[in-house]
Amino acid sequence: MENQKKTTLQNVTKCIVFILLLAMLLMGVSYLMAPKDNTKESGITNPNANGFYSEPKNSIDVVMIGNSDAYSGFSPMELWNACGYTSYVSAEGLQVPAGSLAMLKRILDYQKPKLVILETDGMFTKTDASQNIVNAFNAVLGEPFSVFRYHNRWKKLKWKDLLRKPFYTAHCVTKGQMLSNKVKGYTGEEYMVETDKRAKIPGSSIIAVKQIQKLCAENNMELLLLEMPSESSWSYKRHNAVKDFAKEHHLPFVDLNLDRDRFDFDWTTDSRDGGNHLNSAGARKVTRFIGEYLKEHYDLPDHRDDPNFDVWHEDFKAYTEQVKFTEDD
């Protein structure tokens, strides 16, 4: 009996040591495999969203996180031009709140924003159970095992990449925005028809947004929930659900699908794909309105006359050139 207990204890210890050792090795290999730059060539996923690494440390005051609605509809350079606020949109296609949380944690390693804007469309994205587990794990632990994301870099890995310290060189003049001058308008019926019905927010999204709120509170950052105009993915039922959530958790919520005349929005000219995402013209209108809202509700510094931020003026020029030369389709 005594022997059996001893053997069981030994076996349990062996299992625990094995798991701990595996975790340590995974973290080590994750460091080796992680891209040490944020250029496309370095193998980093979503280089635009990760461009904040190349901005001077703690220079960004506003970050927007979310899915493609965010990087299509928010223009940090227009916000700079209108208000002088420094902002970055670290949005990714199909980013769910757990992914937004992981992104925010990475942002906080380099930047100290005063305001975080969460685009809420991703709260309703359904992911499969496997992805939910990975997201939840990364959301809680901040993706300690990035090898699962970057494992395929073994194909392009060079010896010098393995141990060198990260050095981020990609400079994104759109600050994460995806430019498109394509016009494919929406001409259908009004989609924001008032109702008392509520859409269901998946439990995994609620947990992740609460975590984002907690993280913001811990770092003295304000959190704003915002919904970009989107005919194909948004509805009044979703609006009600997020409004209830925001009220319950004492968060401000701005839904840009309502009263779109406030910012002269026109679905026939401001969408690039028939009502799902905005084009550059739509993003300009929406961002100016967001700027007005931020001026009214937050105390953010205007850096336009600050010589430390001269590079933003240069970036704005480059941005306007890019807008001009971005193809229509």
Partner: protein, 529 residues
């Protein structure tokens, strides 16, 4: 919830393992049964009812067969020899009627849900030659998960009870668990009641050895599936998807890589399945025994999908070849033709039934029937020409038992198997014909070395990873073929070496596995049958 998904491997398997070991021994089978139904419901909620219906049908049919047999045993004591014979005849017919009704139900479900669209389409096509009105409606039917596997297990159970191999079990939970055990419900192995049902009910605690050995087997399965099979998948999909645009050499490469893919994937899945069952102290029958070391097609099928081959042998081949009608046929053939043909004709006919069933079991389509007939013809030709081969070898003093000749036979078998797999993967029999035509008339060997292969879904590094994975599997298989147990050998080493091997395998899967951004999860091919 694929067997290679994180959801299955961590939360699901972990929770079941904890619940199982936390439960008193006599209730552990309940955890397995509940887990099996939850697994089924999570994967295919709308078709769980068919599994429950098949379970009920088989259970009650078995009990009914018991009652008929018990009645016979009781009554025969009071009867003379003639009366016993008469009663045995009546009882035999009653038992046959019960089996027939059960088969009609379980195979009827299978036939309707799996084959109706195929038959209705073909019948309507035929009728369309004469009339514009379609006789059979086109129905969109959902194929229940694992129906091809649990139906065979159910039928095998009833036949065994009918044949008196064992008595039907009175415990409905035991029958239900035997048919639904979650590791094997999607892809088999197709087990017999006396192989697994007892073990499933034993409820033995998970031992350290079962835990570690089960985990190792799961890891080995993941290596085969993720490093080799899933990495080869984009190439195979691209080559077979655009077969009209590829040269014969590229198509041949596609056939070879598909053969590698399906072996790595199916045998890898079996490793995960058998490893999962091992965690609960259940030894499932093996389904693979290094098939590419086979020296004939017959030998290949004794090593590939072993449990399907054994099922068809025991319940189709023997049932047909040992039936009275075939006995008479054999006797007549021996008298009127020759002893060789007397032995060959019943075997050939029974073999036809086996390969017809094998083909149609794999799917409802002409190409699957053709796949069965492909192997049937090869085996039939082998049987017919065997005397000629033997004579020729004797004439030229060829030692058919020599090592060199064995290698030639193995290579020949591999070529025939690649041909069969190409037919299996081609989108139709016509497409297979076109592929073969291109291989023989438009081979263009230059396309193998001019970089064409690197623009077909995967790059050079992928080819290196696939080749590396194949070499590892080949070395392990060669050691196993020699009769050594690599797992025993590794387990006998000191902890540093042992853990180094395990970590190497884990990191091979983590780094070289095809998953994550840029890869869609690849469904197990045999899970679709």
């Amino acid at each position: 919830m694929a067997y290679s998904s994180i959801v299955y491997l961590l939360p699901f398997l972990g929770a079941v393992l904890l619940l199982y070991n936390g439960m008193p021994k006599k209730y552990r089978w309940c955890v397995l049964l509940l887990a099996s139904y939850v697994f089924y419901w999570l994967n295919s909620p709308s078709t769980l009812v068919f599994l429950l219906l098949a379970t009920a049908a088989v259970y009650f049919a078995g009990i009914f067969l018991n009652k008929i047999q018990d009645g016979f045993e009781l009554s025969k004591k009071a009867l003379d020899k003639e009366g016993k014979k008469k009663l045995r005849g009546v009882v035999g017919w009653q038992k046959k009627a019960v089996c027939a009704c059960t088969f009609l139900f379980v195979f009827g479900l299978l036939a309707f849900l799996k084959y109706y669209p195929f038959f209705s389409e073909n019948i309507n096509h035929f009728l369309g030659l004469f009339t514009e009105k379609h006789m059979l409606p086109q129905l969109k039917l959902i194929q229940p998960l694992g129906i091809s596997y649990y139906t065979l297990q159910a039928a095998g159970y009833i036949i065994d009870v009918y044949r008196g191999k064992y008595r039907a079990d009175k415990h409905i939970g035991k029958v239900a668990l035997f048919l639904s055990f979650f590791p094997q419900i999607v892809e088999g192995p197709i087990a017999r009641f006396d192989q697994t049902a007892g073990q499933l009910m034993e409820g033995n605690r998970t031992t350290y050895k079962n835990l570690t050995w089960g985990a190792q087997l799961i890891l080995w399965g993941l290596f085969k599936k993720m490093v080799v099979a899933d990495r080869a998948n984009p190439f195979v999909a691209e080559v077979f998807g655009n077969y009209t645009e590829n040269s014969g050499a590229v198509l041949l490469m596609g056939g070879i890589l598909f053969t590698v893919q399906i072996y790595m994937e199916f045998s890898g899945c079996m490793d995960i399945v058998i490893g999962s069952a091992q965690l609960f102290g259940v030894d499932l029958p093996k389904n693979f025994a290094r098939p590419f070391f086979a020296d004939s097609v017959n030998d290949f099928w004794r090593r590939w999908h072993i449990t399907l081959g054994a099922w068809l042998r025991d319940y189709v081949f023997y049932s047909v070849s040992l039936s009275k009608g075939f006995g008479k046929l054999s006797k007549k053939a021996k008298e009127k033709l020759s002893p060789f043909l007397g032995a060959l004709i019943p075997s050939a006919a029974a073999l036809f039934c086996v390969w017809f069933c094998n083909g149609i079991w794999h799917g409802a389509g002409w190409k699957y029937l053709a796949y069965g007939m492909y192997y049937y013809l090869i085996m039939l030709l082998g049987m017919l020409l065997e005397p000629l081969f033997a004579k020729t070898a004797a004439c030229v003093h060829l030692n058919r038992d020599s090592g060199g000749f064995h290698v030639v036979r193995v290579l020949r078998t591999c070529v025939l198997v690649v041909g069969g797999m190409t037919l299996f993967r081609a989108e139709s029999v016509g497409a297979f014909g076109e592929i073969m035509l291109r291989i023989f008339t438009d081979f263009a060997p230059g396309s193998i070395v001019d970089g064409t292969l690197l623009h077909l879904g995967i790059d050079g590094w992928d080819f290196i990873a696939i080749a590396g994975g194949c070499i590892v599997v080949l070395i392990v298989s060669m050691i196993q073929e020699k009769g050594y147990s690599l797992r025993e050998t590794v387990a006998g080493q000191n902890i540093v070496l042992r853990w180094a091997v395990y970590f190497a395998l884990i990191f091979a899967v983590v780094i070289f596995g095809a998953y994550g951004p840029g890869y869609d999860q690849v469904a197990f091919i045999y899970g679709q049958f």
